[in-house]
Each structure stands twice: as structure tokens, then as C-alpha cells.
Symmetry: C2
Subunit: 354 residues, 2 copies
């Protein structure tokens, strides 16, 4: 549900639970929302941020927290945070006593338009992103755009990339509406109707195929290359984007939406070459990248590793193949496209030479 | 499916999988079935036996094994063993890349009539039995009674107790047929039709309520007390049954079916006191226990701990209550019976004074 007042929206949702049976999990990085969380009045577990902490250890912290508060199967877990919190909390809920109800309250644009809906939960394992997980739908996802007010431009850009992906699956009207959004000032008020439209598109796709047997794979557009870039970022010598300010750490984590934007560019390039897609959307995303996201950083020595990571992707139906979603044109996805190593190398050449 | 020839039964089931994408998980204690497993010709992971090894560490071994063999979402895990193997393997399959197909081939009577069907998976956590788990149904369960030929009398008795529970939920006809089974010689051939009838009863109950929102709780008859006895067995100073031969270790694990038989006796006692059930089934189970299972061993100092474990049971809807399934009469279960501490103490007095 979309709301501008979190507490009014939550009241009827929480009324059917014993207040002693409600707990909250959140992230270290959700500091700006502390007053909102404290106002709920339930016990809070704060998780460490970062993809490297999206681990089985973090899941165990949540199970321990639920046990410590004697949460029964009739209890409720509220996941109040970004995508890492909703993915970890959702997984812990799906497996605690074989299934506990949970509510997602996403605090980032990325989590609002992607992780918090659709029921995908999980954590990183053996260096592979979301390698372990479940399909387990929250009883409600509460989208409250005013929570976005304190986000950095980078975090908004990260979510915006997932919205672009959704629009590429839906049609030119939504894609053009997104391109008209003012990325220089990024007004949150103008985002709300765009979020609502993107969520409707995702919901339609997920409902047609909740367990990703077929059509839902369309949502992976940009993610075969994007996940590999992120997984490389989980390694010690991390790839990163170049933010406009000076980099503070050489291991700075690549934000998911940045990885998705780079992935979209590589996969739209493949869509042009293989499916004859018009070059215009590729050029539009390339311009956005150069103006707002910065180029991806990748060493030549990483190239083989990137390809190997794509070959291990969850989406693959066979070992050692690369499986992508591409598009014939905006709104016309083509799932299960098997890409050769030489085709992928050509797409990466395009991306890394921009 | 019920078969007398494992390989003939498996052939059509496995035909739709890439042979490079099939792996097997089994248990150390399944030595007698080694030739059957080797004949399959797939990579095998052997798990350590014992409830204390039914842990998150064991689940991680299975995830690692699947990754090592590059198993994709289109692969297959065969769980060939007792209930610990099928519970752990089923959980690993349910969460690996958000869901991998699996087949159960139970090798114990207990796993045949209980763990291998119905889709409950899980592992012990924080000293609580099956505290973490999922509902995830195998694509097939292959029941092959000739695999029982090498089981010990104790292992057969363990499974037989779950069959008695199933019959108590179904009706007098099945219950009496079970009581006529010759426990002195335990012929495996006579078990097959009884296994088939018990599986049909379980399937009917599970299909009416796959996620245990209501009716499926009937299958927990005997398990509120039974699980607490087992959980006590997970502690250093373990409760145990007295087998007819001399005990070899003071920490000998209480077999699940033995715990269930003791639990049935306590819970049928409560059924007599609270719901006016006839005393006859209670007396029949008591006689069986004294003749074949031996008395449970429990120190007075364990009594408080047992009650506390029951209050933490997954089945509870509220904190610090004891929730049991009882029966009005054979075939008439009564779920969600909230039992007071003094009632439970009275039932335990009956059980431990036999």
C-alpha cells in the first residue's frame, strides 16, 4: 500500500497481533528513520549494512532475536529498511518455525520499487548474490515516499535504475515519463506517481509467474551482467562506480542500482545486436550514465571472472551457459536468451569503453 | 509411490533430468544401502547421523556440495536415508537458489511413514527441534519396503510408534490391524500394507491443510511431550529409553518414535482425564511400552525443563502455554488443547511411574 502517513497505515495492519508478539529488524544505515521506528514501540534489532553482511550469520542474528523475544508462529516481524534488511528479514521469517508473518517498510527507493515486493528473499553465499533464499510474500508492503526525503542522490539514482528497467519491460509511455523526471534536483514528490506505476508493472509480472518459471524472468533484465558486477564487488579487489566527489575508499561497494544500470547498457547492446532493437534506448541510458552515474571501473584481469560469475547465475538452466533477458523493443521482453562468451565480451567492450 | 524395485521405480522419475545435474545426500548410518546408492552412479554426500548433527552446519555442507557440482535450478537432489537426511536435504533444496527439486528415498520405517512425505523440512536450532524449516514438497517420495530388511528392532519400533499415532487419528480398524502386527518377529512383508494405509491417512490430512493452519495439527498427537523429551536428549545429561540389552552409553539418543510413544501415553492420559476418552487405548499403549519399548528415564530435576520446552513448542499460538492435540476417541482428534502446568505434571506423573 502507498501512504504518506506510516502510523495511520500501520494501525489496522498491526491490530490483529498481540503487541508482545511484534518485533522490528532494521539497518544501521536507516538512522534518519530512527524516530519513526522508535515511535512504533517494539523491540528493534539493528543489522550491519553492506552486501558483505548479507550473510547466514545475519540471518542467525534474526532467528536468535525472534527466539529471545519468544515470538510464536502467530507473531509478526516488521522489516524496516533497505533491500538488505527486507531480503534478510523475509528469509528469516520464511524459515522461523516454518513461517512467520512479516511486513516490509522499505526506506530506500530501490527497496520500494524492487526488493520489498514480489516475495523474493535471500542472502549471499559462497560469494554468490542471493544464492540461498525463498519465495515468501510479506503480508503487506507499506510504501511511504516521505521516508525518501533523507536519501542521498546516489541512493535515489540506484532506485531510479530499477525503475528504468521496469519501464523498459512495460512500454514507451512509462519509460518517457521516467526520462522526464528531473535528475538534477530529484524532487521526492514527483517520484510517488512513478513508484506507483512501476509497482503495478512488477505486480502484474509477478502474479503471472510467482516462482519464476518463465515470464517473471523478464524482471531480470540488466541483472545477468549487473549481478556479476556486484559479485565482483564482494571480492577483495572491488569494482566500483566513480561518484562525482572523490572516492573515500578503494573498496567502496557498487550500489545495486548502479550495477543494474551498467547491466542494462550491456544487455540493451546485446538486444540491438541480436534482436534488432532500435539504438535509441541504449543511447538514452548511455547518456544518463555519463551524466549522472559515472563509468564502471573494471580491470581487464576481471573480465574472465565476470564471465565465470555469469555462468554460475541462478537463472541459468544449464551449467556454463549465460542466460539473459533481452528486449525486442521497449515493452517486448525476450527471456532465456543464451549468450555466447564472444557476444558477452563484445557487450562488455562496449560498456567499458564508454 | 510404493515399490519393491527401487531402480525400476526411479528410471522414469530421473529421465527428465540431465544426469550431470543429479546428486545424492545420504547418512552415515545408511551403510546397508551403500550398494543401492552406488548403483545410482551420482555424486554422494554422506552426512553425520544423530539429532545433534541436524544443524545449520549440516545444511551448509549440502549447499556447498550442490555448488561444488554446479547444480542449477533445473537439477535434482536425491535424499536417500532416514528422517534426518530427508529433513536436512529437503530444507537445503527448498532454499538453494530459491528452490531445487528433490526426491526422498526413506530407508527407515519412521521416515517412510512420517518425515519423507508432507513437505515439512528443517533442522534443530538453539536446542529446539526443527526450530528452523520450511514447507517444501518433494517431487516424489519412493517407498521401498525391502530397504527395511536390515533395520534393527529398535528402528522398526521407532517407526511403528508413528504408525500407531496415525491410526489413533484415523479409526479403530487401522489401530487394531496395527496391534495385530507381530512385534516379536517383525516381518517386513507384513508391514507394507500397513505402511500404505498410514501414508494414505497422512496424505488426506496434509492435503486438507498443507501449511498446518488447523487440521494438520492433528498429526502432532504425542509430539508436544515427545518433542520435549527429545529436546532434553539434545542436552548433555540426556534422557534415554532402556533397551533390553545393556546400555552402551549414558548419552544414548532417544529415538524419535520412542519419544512419540511416551508422548502418546502422556497425551492419551490427558485425553482420558479431560475429554473422557475410553481408557482402553491408553492401557494398550502402556502394555506395548512395557513389553517392547522400555520405560522412559527422567530425573525429577528434568521436570521443570521439560515443561519449559513444551511452552516453547512451535505449535503454540501464545507464549508460555502448552498446546496439545488430544483425541475424544480413536479417529476423533481435538486440536489446540491448552494444557495447564498442573495437568501436564499429572500426565508426566502417570508416564514416569509406570
Amino acid at each position: 500500500m502507498l501512504t504518506n502517513d506510516l502510523h495511520i497505515a500501520l494501525r489496522p495492519l498491526l491490530a490483529s497481533y498481540d503487541p508482545q508478539q511484534i518485533v522490528v529488524v532494521t539497518g544501521q544505515d536507516v538512522n534518519a528513520c530512527r524516530p519513526e521506528i522508535a515511535a512504533l514501540g517494539y523491540p528493534v534489532l539493528t543489522m550491519q549494512g553492506g552486501e558483505e553482511n548479507k550473510s547466514i550469520v545475519a540471518v542467525q542474528h534474526i532467528w536468535d532475536f525472534l527466539l529471545e523475544h519468544n515470538i510464536t508462529r502467530r507473531g509478526l516481524l516488521i522489516c524496516f529498511g533497505g533491500g538488505i534488511v527486507t531480503d534478510l528479514g523475509g528469509f528469516a521469517a520464511s524459515t522461523y518455525k516454518r513461517g512467520l508473518n512479516y511486513i516490509n517498510i522499505p526506506t530506500t527507493l530501490l527497496a520500494m520499487v524492487d526488493a520489498s515486493t514480489g516475495g523474493k528473499t535471500g542472502f549471499n553465499y559462497a560469494g554468490l548474490k542471493n544464492c540461498i533464499g525463498s519465495f515468501y510474500v510479506p503480508v503487506e508492503t507499506v510504501i511511504c515516499p516521505p521516508l525518501l526525503d533523507t536519501l542521498s542522490a546516489e541512493q535515489l539514482l540506484s532506485g531510479y535504475a530499477e525503475m528504468l528497467k521496469t519501464a523498459l519491460l512495460d512500454g514507451s509511455e512509462l519509460f518517457n515519463a521516467l526520462l522526464q523526471y528531473d535528475l538534477d534536483t530529484m524532487p521526492v514528490a514527483d517520484l510517488a506517481p512513478l513508484i506507483e506505476r512501476c509497482l503495478a508493472v512488477k505486480e502484474r509480472i509477478v502474479q503471472s509467474d510467482p516462482h519464476e518459471q518463465g515470464l517473471r524472468k523478464a524482471l531480470n533484465l540488466g541483472h545477468t551482467v549487473g549481478h556479476a558486477l556486484e559479485e565482483l564487488g564482494l571480492q577483495p579487489s572491488a569494482i566500483s562506480h566513480q561518484p562525482s566527489e572523490n572516492r573515500q575508499s578503494s573498496n567502496r561497494q557498487l550500489l545495486h542500482g548502479y550495477a543494474v544500470l551498467y547491466g542494462l547498457i550491456a544487455e540493451l547492446y546485446l538486444s540491438v545486436v541480436r534482436l534488432g532493437m532500435s539504438r535509441e534506448p541504449l543511447q538514452q541510458l548511455t547518456q544518463l550514465m555519463l551524466h549522472y552515474y559515472g563509468r564502471p571501473q573494471c580491470k581487464c584481469s576481471d573480465r574472465e571472472h565476470l564471465i565465470a560469475l555469469m555462468e554460475q547465475d541462478k537463472k541459468n538452466e544449464r551449467t556454463a551457459e549465460i542466460n539473459c533477458t533481452l528486449i525486442h523493443s521497449i515493452g517486448q521482453p525476450a527471456i532465456n536468451q543464451v549468450i555466447s562468451r564472444s557476444e558477452m565480451n563484445e557487450a562488455l567492450d562496449y560498456l567499458f569503453s564508454l
